[in-house]
Symmetry: C3
Subunit: 663 residues, 3 copies
């Protein structure tokens, strides 16, 4: 199977979504001309073109697409050809209302928007695959074709009766046709929920009170699996037709609906849609995390499939990107392993629901700040060709499991505010301040060769994963475990006997009771090692059973309560964080943990808002803020972007980027 290198071919891909069907054909020529001017090398075509390709049931209208692909090819622009299955034509919904999705309240959602399909519907799937097969046949040999783009941002969820039957089918498989096993897993003995027949089982629809958490967790698994099936069915058709063309589907940012790891395993190229908030001064933190997630999913280079050149259209207030910001964000992705930087979309729509989404060519045309910045970015990317295919140096690992993320998000917990992404972001940012880059891996990943593994939250843990983490420490690794981890097994059943049961020995402690703080409440903590800090959101009522107390509550009725602990275990060290420390304390902790684990970053003494990563032989230093910042370079180097030698204390302008290669 082909991978991303079949697309990059030695240069960083630059481009965007191209929707020529929205424009008269005279515009197409101008488009190709402007693309060439901007250095665009790849465009994604056809994402929402179903009703154009199949205007009436069974019809095929490929003429316009033939013309577009020929034109692009003639212009030297490769095509990421999309299957248009994320938005079926109105005729499908009207003729087959059962293909339309139903929400948990029983409301059938209609066409006239997008995403209006039931992933379990065999009728939908049949219509979709038929068109995909014809696309593959018609364009499989087209010289412009560089990649297949299956569907778009898979995220659909449905609660209809067809989905219910599919859910039951999936459950029978999961539980080996053993209804007792399901009843046990879902603990249906509670509240008299025992199923006497598979046919009784429904998706978690609206109910009078709290819905069974086992059912909800399995439904999330099922929804993910159903989308995976949709992807796989298309992938199989495409792969059979064009074994050498890599296949991707774009992720909807860093979100929970789909088990990204399972999907990444099944696609050839990992691609990512990322829309940071232009008004958030810390937007680069979540961005950096998401980029590292994508690189880890891909096991190497990946693509930014979508981003905005400036404003989006779906926030309440859609701020623009200040000059230089789009460039810094794009190069940040490259610094963390992206081999492609693409945007939604090439030319701003003149009508429809996304007409106020920015684009590479704005409504005001090419004589604009935005288009000029796009062209400059195109040049910058050509200067970075040497990093194509290169690895990013990482010094640590963060653990993220989608199933645990789903489980901790269920209701009726000690607090509704355990924020998995927020914790990952806090740790990722703290490491980044030290110049340390982290991979983001599964709890059952192979940790051999790693020194430092940080588990911000792992509410749900399997026996295997618990053993894996324990053995990592025993063999000499350093582990940090965040609170409310190791609490339940894969069925969301409590691991009994004092929390966190599978890690008690490893951590040298035992928790009797969770003690969440009120919203807005904080307690002062003291620590010789970390300095004093404020803790929020969570505390444990725990007993030390061997661990060393690194920080404790300094005041109030919980005075003396341990909040950070360290425990030598085997040849390694396990840290436990029994609260949500303020960011500065996470920073101090990260410093101690890295020091203890012998981990050092690629550049130290970084000011706030500046990150440094090494990819191949290039050291990327990026100023994510609008104000100038200065860094102390460890060695002299040549900047691939602006040219010239840099050494010692070096000033970066606002949104400035250095790509240094040692002299």
């Amino acid at each position: 199977m082909a991978g991303i290198s079949a697309v990059t071919r030695g240069r960083i891909v630059f481009g965007g979504d191209y929707n020529p069907e929205q424009w008269p054909s005279e515009v197409w020529r101008e488009d190709v001309e402007l693309m060439r001017r901007a250095g665009v090398s790849l465009v994604t075509v056809g994402v929402f073109s179903w009703s154009r390709l199949e205007p009436t049931p069974g019809a095929r209208d490929f003429g316009w697409l033939d013309e577009v692909l020929d034109l692009l090819h003639a212009g030297g622009i490769a095509v990421d050809l999309a299957t248009p299955t994320a938005s079926p034509p109105p005729w499908l919904g009207r003729r087959h209302p059962e293909t339309l999705p139903v929400d948990a309240d029983g409301r059938r959602l209609v066409y006239g928007s997008r995403n209006h399909f039931c992933p379990s519907s065999p009728v939908y799937r049949r219509h979709a695959l038929s068109l995909v097969a014809d696309l593959a046949q018609r364009y499989g040999d087209h010289p412009a074709l560089a990649m297949w783009h299956v569907d778009n941002e898979l995220c659909e969820v449905c609660h209809c009766d067809v989905s219910a039957a599919h859910f039951r089918h999936w459950l029978r498989s999961r539980y080996d046709d053993d209804l007792d096993a399901l009843n046990e897993a879902w603990h249906t003995v509670f509240w008299s929920q025992r199923y006497s027949d598979w046919a009784e089982i429904l998706p978690p629809r609206r109910a009078p009170y709290l819905v069974n958490p086992g059912q909800r967790l399995d439904f999330r698994r099922f929804c993910s699996a159903a989308l995976l099936e949709c992807f796989q069915a298309q992938r199989d058709v495409l792969r059979a037709a064009t074994p050498d063309i890599p296949i991707t589907t774009n992720f909807l940012g860093l979100d929970a609906p789909l088990d990204y790891r399972a999907l990444a395993e099944r696609e050839d190229v990992v691609s990512h849609d990322w829309y940071p908030d232009p008004t958030d001064p810390a937007a680069h933190e979540l961005a950096g995390l998401s980029f590292d997630v994508m690189r880890s999913l891909a096991g190497g280079p990946w693509m930014v499939m979508e981003g905005a050149t400036s404003a989006v259209n779906w926030r309440r207030r859609n701020g623009v990107k200040a000059p230089g910001r789009m460039r810094a964000e794009s190069l940040h992705a490259v610094a963390r392993g992206a081999d492609a930087v693409c945007f939604f979309q090439w030319r701003a729509s003149r009508a429809g629901a996304e007409k106020y989404h920015s684009a590479m060519v704005p409504h005001a045309g090419p004589d604009t700040r935005i288009f000029r910045e796009v062209c400059e970015l195109g040049v910058d990317l050509t200067r970075l060709a040497e990093v194509v295919g290169a690895d990013v140096e990482s010094q640590a690992a963060l653990v993220l499991d989608w199933e645990s993320w789903w489980a901790v998000g269920l209701d009726a917990h000690p607090t509704a505010d355990v924020d998995v992404l927020g914790r990952l972001r806090a740790w990722h940012a703290a490491l980044a301040r030290l110049g340390v880059t982290a991979d983001v891996v599964a709890s059952d990943a192979d940790f051999s060769g790693r020194r430092l593994v940080i588990v911000p939250n792992l509410y749900l843990v399997t026996d295997d994963a618990a053993a894996n983490l324990t053995s990592f420490v025993r063999r000499g690794g350093t582990l940090v475990l965040g609170c409310f981890s190791g609490i339940v097994d894969e069925h969301d059943h409590i691991r009994l006997g004092g929390y966190p049961a599978p890690f008690r020995e490893l951590l040298g402690l035992r928790i009797e009771e969770f003690d969440p703080l009120d919203d807005g409440e904080s307690v002062r903590c003291s620590s010789a090692l970390l300095g004093d800090f404020e803790a929020r959101d969570w505390l444990d009522d725990l007993r030390v059973e061997g661990a060393e107390v690194v920080a404790e509550v300094a005041e109030g009725r919980r005075k003396g309560r341990p909040v950070v602990l360290r425990h030598g275990f085997g040849a390694g060290t396990a840290w436990y964080v029994a609260t949500e420390p303020e960011p500065a304390a996470v920073g101090a902790l990260a410093r101690q943990v890295c020091a203890g684990a012998g981990v050092t970053g690629v550049l130290t003494g970084l000011p706030a808002g500046v990150t440094a990563t090494r990819r191949g032989r290039v050291l990327f230093v990026i100023n994510h803020g609008p104000d100038p910042a200065s860094v102390e370079l460890p060695a002299a180097g040549v900047d691939l972007l602006r040219g010239g030698r840099q050494a010692g204390r070096t000033e970066l302008p606002g949104f400035g980027v250095l790509a240094l290669v040692a002299e």
Copy 2:
């Protein structure tokens, strides 16, 4: 056709909604006696009386109404007889559930409240018209009959299948049976929404994501048209029966659901329901705007059909009106052209959903502050008889188009907070502070004879309207255009090539990008002409192409960005306001604009909260606040209300009103 003069007959109408069916007949006699005491001249009868008039399908019970009309007539009180069609009886909903409305979520709403009908339902319409015809026949010759009141506050919206069919029928007519034209107008090529058959088209029901804006805009047009049909059908029956009796239907305040202009053209008398918030110290601003809208719709005198003597019942907390406030509000309407002041309702209900709505006769009876103030108002109105039928002097025009209002309210815009009404209010209030009164007109109105036209927002603009505004300036007029205007055509398609394309030449500028501020964010602006001010909500990233910069951003990364511009064009001047300035800056701008246009008010140097308008030969000066205020009168005059000569600096008590006629 008869107009409002057939009702006023030389005196300001005074009265209210009268619901005798809610009371035993012994109360009716007391009612007439109290009405006479209060000086009531007209009451609206029968608004929600369907189930009383037609207690079972097809039955007619007119006896009680005969008695009521006779009694009123004997008491010298005229009747505005209502068709009771805003609330069908339960039997209709039970026998014909398809007459009940369905919301966008597919929920069928039930009877037991009011407004529970589908405007598109032929069954509803047939039942309604049959009763209307019988009413017209029975009471067309009754001597008490002075006016017909069709339905009540038309505002119903329905998404049912009957409405869907009606919507399709309306669309076929709008698009000349050309489905391609609809697909083009709705830009259905986006997100694969192309319709292959008229039968596929639905109202904008709940969907997975953003719904097609063209579909939403046309649905708003359709809903307005469907209500208009309901009105017209009743009007035609009534007019055929009683060609000399004027016909009205009361507007639901200053709201967007219905194209008021289209309705006003089809009725004989414009009537208005207005419920200012008694706890809002600036309530008179929106009131004044709404009164000017009504006068402009009517092209002359209009009616206050409903108002509250004190509290309403539908706010979370329903504050009362301080003594004098109701009088000032009522005379404010007269000062802006009302020839009738009526209230909802005559006697406070003793039960039901509106029992806590204030009335002319409260639960506590006539020995109350409220009833005393009602009686005093009755006397005041008789003192103002000379203004009946007289014109209100206006010096400027504000532009308001319902279609643009609908369009700018759609979602996925640069900001969700473009507040058409708020901007109109700000400009109206700024003009009012200068003693300038504005008409509120359509963008394609005839502007000949006008000096100053202010367009606070005109997001959607037709080619004709753009030409009309441009030609107004070319011929010497002064135009002010607010931001996010001239952006789309009547299909909500972007007018390409730099915003606002149709006004770029007129304004001498070109906008590359919208740059909305965050919620709560403001930027300091400086201006030699206007003084420094804070700007909020919106900025444009624009290039000057000939215009003079009057104000610019004074700080931050947008420093130097123009926010107010002036451009000589032809014989006139065009101003552009690229932000939402704070109220004081709108005031300063209004002052400059008026000065430039040679517009002066009827009274200058007005303190805050005092307004002045001239109607006929009467100068109305109204203090809308509870504290005394003083004004400098330009000339001596006699106060029609309190008598006595007033000249020079004159003190108005809290809520005081002067109605001065020059000596």
Copy 3:
């Protein structure tokens, strides 16, 4: 019929909900052993066991329950055996979807949670009663059986068509088959809502605007009655089988859905579920009120059926109870008449929706703070055996009517913020600060022998209740009436002629208009008797007709407006409070009122957060806060809990409790 004494048998019952079906049988033996260690005397078994007892339609699986009851009996632990009808098995919902409830939006709620039944469904009732009958037959003679526990926290509401038919049936009975009477009661002449046939009447489902308040009020009555029918049907089956076993059903805290008084009359034991918020420092105030409500409903001792040993699981953040807090809360209940202290639940669930609800045995097992506190409480309760069956001394009465509570909660009122419970709590707390304990009684209760009756709110008042309260004062009593009382009759019709019509003579005043304050607004009031204070939320515009003004508004446009009035009437005194005074002013008022009525508490000079009550010969003094507090004891006594003599100024530790018996 047997009462609570058949359960207590001379000792305070101690125990909790026991759900052995959730655990393997090997755990059961440990459970009994731990129960014995903790001093548990009664457990509630089977609350949600329907699907376990009847795994398939008609089947019966009693074997496990036999074993559990035998085991408990062998351990000396009595059983409160529950009917499991609050959560039908999935098979019932699947086979009979019409048994599932429908909300006001028409959404049918599904199984997979609990409470998913339509109380009006004959199919549900038939299945429920059949199982109840079999339970009664099988366990009626079991020696462990001490009490029947019908269903659980009855609160279900349904809007389906079956409920609609039942509602109509209930209405025909209420209105003696006279549809005109219903039309009159619901004032359907308003908004054309007149019913021409019983068949037209529906539950108050979603409608376009405000729904008829008479219909809403009767629907609340009906829902309460439907649940009462469900209770009674089960009770009758159980009583027939076991005439000597008392029957209860547990109330869902102090809430409005059900007329508790009507239910308390029909059960043998009043039992209460109470979950104070551990993070609320004033939680004991509402707790004390609720306990006094329960004692008053029971007319003597009552049960705490459920409480939490620490955190619950259903708040957004579920704080734990500080050490000692659970004990103080439990003994507070005993001090106010509880003869049983039980918890939900015995052993924390290992899975399901309530697994994070605290229990007597936590997930961490018996070696925990919580289990130790449980055991200590068990000992404390044995020390208080002498209060079993004893009366609590009360010096005053508070009035609470469920129908008025329902009516004042309807919409479209002068303010949406009349908080019946909040006012009761404020008065209860003010009395408690004076050492005065109040019964909570109906407005038509027998007040002979009482000195002081406080009516914080009685919006809806019947003629009989108005006469009862008036006659109480005439005969020498002291009455306090809160604002917005006496406004409507039982049909929610205004009592005309100046508010509050039935109490005008009694109070010596007449209200013209309600004058609610804005949210957050307050006015300063002055009073020689009470001191100055802030008033919020409500004012009346009233005229004094004989009353003495005790406090009046001190500022603003309402200056001089009376806010507290006192009126001698017959041999007694009536106070009227025309606003919501701040808590300190309620305290000052309570002091004056008590002094005037000759009421004194059991202990005076209580510091904040300390309450004192006398039960039998025991004086309970409880510190509800975490900090120490001291009280001046009136007489020396021996502490039943800790032993030792206490006299004079005595220190209580945080959450400390004294149970003193005079020497």
